[in-house]
Amino acid sequence: MRLRRKRRLVRCVKRRRELKPVSTNTAAIRPDDVLLMSVVRNEKIRLPFFLEYYRKLGVNHFLFVDNDSGDGSLEFLRTQPDVSVWQTKTSYKKAGFGLDWSNYLLRNYAHGHWVLTVDPDEFFIYPFCDTRPISALTDWLDSCAVRSFGTMLIDMYPEGPVDDEPYHEGQDPFEITRWFDAGNYMISKNPEYKNLWIQGGPRARVFFQDNPSKAPALNKIPLVKWDRRYVYISSTHSLLPRGLNQVYDEWGGEKTSGALLHAKLINTLGEKAREEMQRNQHYRGSGEYKAYAKQLEEQPVFRCDWSEQYINWRQLEILGLMSKGNWA
């Protein structure tokens, strides 16, 4: 495992030349700042709300890698004072699906900081997030000597077919995708990295019901008190050293955990799926996107009689999709 971790580290350092700094405001990072790391490609439409959401939570500085966007993402990001952005035109796939880039930036800029690594369509929810800023959570985790914080990705979906209601720049995506599946998640433990492997939700139910083993993983560990020796090894599903994956209790108790609301299933999905199929730059030969592109033609509706409408974190905690643990 140590070797694997070292190899990852070497790989990410090797790829540092692929990253061209466009706007670096990293000098403004203060020692206690909470950071956010994200790799984006053609996500301009999502970025304004994304930044607004996380600024409100109390994220102090954003680190972005722009992977060859052609929609003005880069130009938008470089004008933001609390954003540092690097550009790369090389292959996403070759860079370990972007992980090498983020691992490198995390190693360089996030050492000693709490850092959230999320995609631009993932929105972090934690207990008391409506009354306590993210630094309350990280201070508390610090006082408990906890280094990583687990979440589950919750796919949110709209009332009708995904194309029905178009998303506007700056809009809260959860005005459109208000629905989610409350209780059809399947968990097993990955003995290799000791992380949980969670599958299920609407995508497994609609896209992968004949082949559930291919359904996307929903377990995520996005919030970590970073150290330059750490690496993400498979998206934010798992890290090395393996102790960081132990975000769950095995003796019957509940650790504190959160959720990532996933606003993927909006009208941009179809376009994205078609593009990703051509680029073939995603995990498992973009199999996930192939399935989407094929099935999206049939205009599937995810909403069913038992879908839940999202209210707040307390609802998720009661449904058992996250837990306050002993944070009260």
């Binding site: 008391f128 009354t131 306590r132 800023p133 630094s135 309350a136 201070d139 508390w140 006082s143 408990c144 687990g150 979440t151 589950m152 599946d181 409350a182 209780g183 059809n184 998640y185 399947m186 968990i187 097993s188 433990k189 949980l196 969670i198 299920g200 609407p202 497994a204 139910r205 019901q209 004949d210 082949n211 559930p212 083993s213 377990n219 975000v247 769950y248 209790d249 095995e250 003796w251 019957g252 108790g253 509940e254 650790k255 504190t256 955990s257 069913c304 009689d305 038992w306 879908s307 839940e308 058992g320 999709l321 996250m322 837990s323 306050k324 643990g325 002993n326 944070w327 009260a328």
Partner: protein
């Protein structure tokens, strides 16, 4: 000059400490601040300088304060000494920390203490009486030596404790002392405090307590017992601890909870809880009548949190709760019932059961084609799909999800050897499962089917094998489910009694006698059918003894009502 003096131990968030100190002094209370010597010299001198304009704030000699070590006691000692010496009017000294926040107007606390001029408020209990010690060290705190830090040198700490236990090394507790423990935050009278600090044997005591574990929870608590004339064994500081002995932290959203607690001082406050500092340090109107502190409501909130962290919600599997095999405290969230063979033996058994028990009755949830949810639903609570592939991908998750999603309504379902069997061990190990089996009932659908006899024979052999294996599981020593089984012959002999027992258990509140019995299928010729199987070399054993001469078919036997008292 006030009769109340505040000693404040500070190590971080100095700006908040200053804010609180000024609040105390505004009410006339002198404050002596001890700053941990780990705080950088420059930060310290800035802090001193910013408080310089306030004559009631002074600073004491600095010590290094590590958790669980002597430094905290030494700090309290020197600060208290300074307080008693410089402020002769002070009658009560209140020990607080930089993360403490006064919740009620200071004058109320002063008045409260003036009404009780001889009372020492210090939580102090003998080691036999406390249940909150962490790490199982209670009396041993006083009889072993602890030269190593628990936080930074855990291995050495544990090894040294083990060594002392093994070799029987013990320390002698100084004469006259009875070890007492309690919250570190006290409020003592001048008389008691000075008696402790000026004790001629203080050197002996100090030397002894220097190597006691967590002396700040026992030094004053033990010595106060020697001199105090009136100990109130409780702390005036509201402080809650989690299951690892760390203090819970208060945030802005605790405002109302803290208000209603009527406690004088609370800790620990998150330094950035702006709203709390603003509202409690502003000029407060005092309560209409003097209230006693009442931390009960807060207690409930925090003990719930501890319960959730250590025990969790039964039957919930999620990203932060995934118990190991055997640590689940109940594999599912609530009781449910599994019926095997009943729907083969009775016509419309599911409808009958639903009316009789007012529960939700599913068909064969583990049927090979799809999960037969009640009312023919294709998707049910929690957006759980009826797809067999999804279900069989993780049958445990399927069942625990179903039970979790339908909390509050009891679930029943049919099961049998025709179904996928991967769930058997889970069912058997689950104490929430009530499993009722009529063994061999699977032969009835075969008997009534229109299949070729050779196929029937094969199928019967297969089902019998599956059911035998399942019964082995159900009778294993690990089985925690409530299992009842009857052979088919046994059951139809007197079907109402077992049914009544099962139903009483499912719905005890609606305990009533069964008036309407489910309709049994016509078994005329079943004995002969079994004999035919035997003749063809397949020996059906699980049904029990059926006479060939068809007693059950020809005889129209009325059901005997159970428990009929005449």
């Amino acid at each position: 000059m006030s009769s109340l003096g505040i000693v404040m131990l500070v190590h971080t968030a100095l700006d908040r400490a200053e804010q609180v100190a000024r609040h105390w002094t505004a009410a006339g209370c002198p404050v002596v601040i001890h700053v941990d010597s780990k705080v950088a010299e420059k930060t310290y001198s800035n802090f001193v300088a910013s408080c310089a304009d306030n004559p009631l704030i002074s600073f004491s000699e600095r010590h290094t304060c590590d958790w669980g070590r002597w430094g905290i006691v030494a700090a309290s000692q020197s600060a208290s000494e300074q307080m008693l010496e410089n402020f002769p009017d002070v009658r009560h000294v209140f020990l607080s920390s930089g993360a403490c926040l006064p919740l009620r107007p200071v004058q109320e606390l002063i008045d409260y203490l003036s009404d009780r001029p001889r009372v020492d408020f210090i939580e102090s209990a003998t080691t036999a009486d406390v249940s909150w010690t962490i790490g199982g060290l209670d009396h041993e705190r006083f009889t072993l030596r602890f030269p190593f830090s628990w936080r930074n040198q855990r291995k050495l700490f544990d090894a040294y404790v083990k060594l002392q236990r093994a070799t029987g090394m013990r320390r002698r507790i100084p004469d006259g002392l009875t070890p007492h423990m309690g919250s570190q935050w006290w409020c003592l009278t001048r008389q008691t405090l000075s008696a402790i600090l000026q004790d001629p044997r203080r050197k002996i005591y100090d030397r002894y307590f220097r190597h006691v574990w967590i002396p700040d929870e026992s030094y004053f608590q033990t010595l106060a017992r020697l001199y105090s004339t009136h100990i109130e064994s409780r702390s005036l500081t509201l402080s809650k601890f989690d299951y690892q002995g760390r203090p819970h932290i208060f945030y802005d959203d605790h405002l109302q909870l803290l208000r209603r607690s009527d406690c004088f001082v609370a800790r620990k406050i998150w330094p950035r809880a702006e709203k709390l500092y603003q509202s409690f340090l502003a000029n407060q109107t005092s309560a209409m009548r003097p209230a006693e502190p009442n931390p009960g409501k807060i207690d409930r909130v925090f003990s719930k949190a501890v319960e959730r962290r250590t025990h969790g919600r039964d039957g919930l599997y999620m990203q932060s709760r995934f118990p190991r095999h055997g640590s689940e405290n109940g594999l599912t969230a609530a009781g449910y019932s599994v019926f095997q063979g009943f729907s083969d033996l009775f016509e419309e058994f599911e409808t009958w059961l639903e009316t009789a028990t007012n529960t939700r009755v599913h068909g064969r949830l583990f049927a090979p084609s799809r999960a037969e949810f009640a009312q023919g639903e294709t998707i049910t609570n929690g957006a759980l799909s009826d797809s067999a592939t999804l279900r069989d991908y993780n049958p445990k998750a399927f069942l625990s999800n179903l039970i979790w999603n339908t909390r509050g309504q009891r679930q029943c379902f049919q099961f049998g050897p025709q179904d996928t069997q991967d769930i058997n061990w889970f069912l058997a190990r689950d104490k929430n499962a009530q499993i009722s089996v009529i063994t061999g009932a699977w032969a009835i659908p075969l008997f009534r089917s229109n299949m070729n006899f050779a196929d029937i024979r094969c199928e019967a052999a297969r089902l019998q094998q599956i059911e035998s294996k399942q019964l082995e599981v159900l009778s294993s020593v690990w089985t925690k489910a409530r299992v009842r089984s009857w052979t088919l012959a046994e059951f139809i002999e007197a079907p109402m009694e077992p049914l009544q027992t099962i139903l009483d258990e499912i719905a005890p509140q609606t305990a009533r006698h069964l008036t309407e019995a489910p309709l049994m299928v016509d078994l005329a010729g079943f004995g002969q059918f079994l004999q035919n199987l035997k003749n063809q070399g397949m020996h059906p054993q699980l049904m029990g003894d059926f006479p060939v001469d068809d007693v059950f078919g020809t005889r129209t036997k009325p059901f005997r009502k159970p428990y009929l008292v005449q």
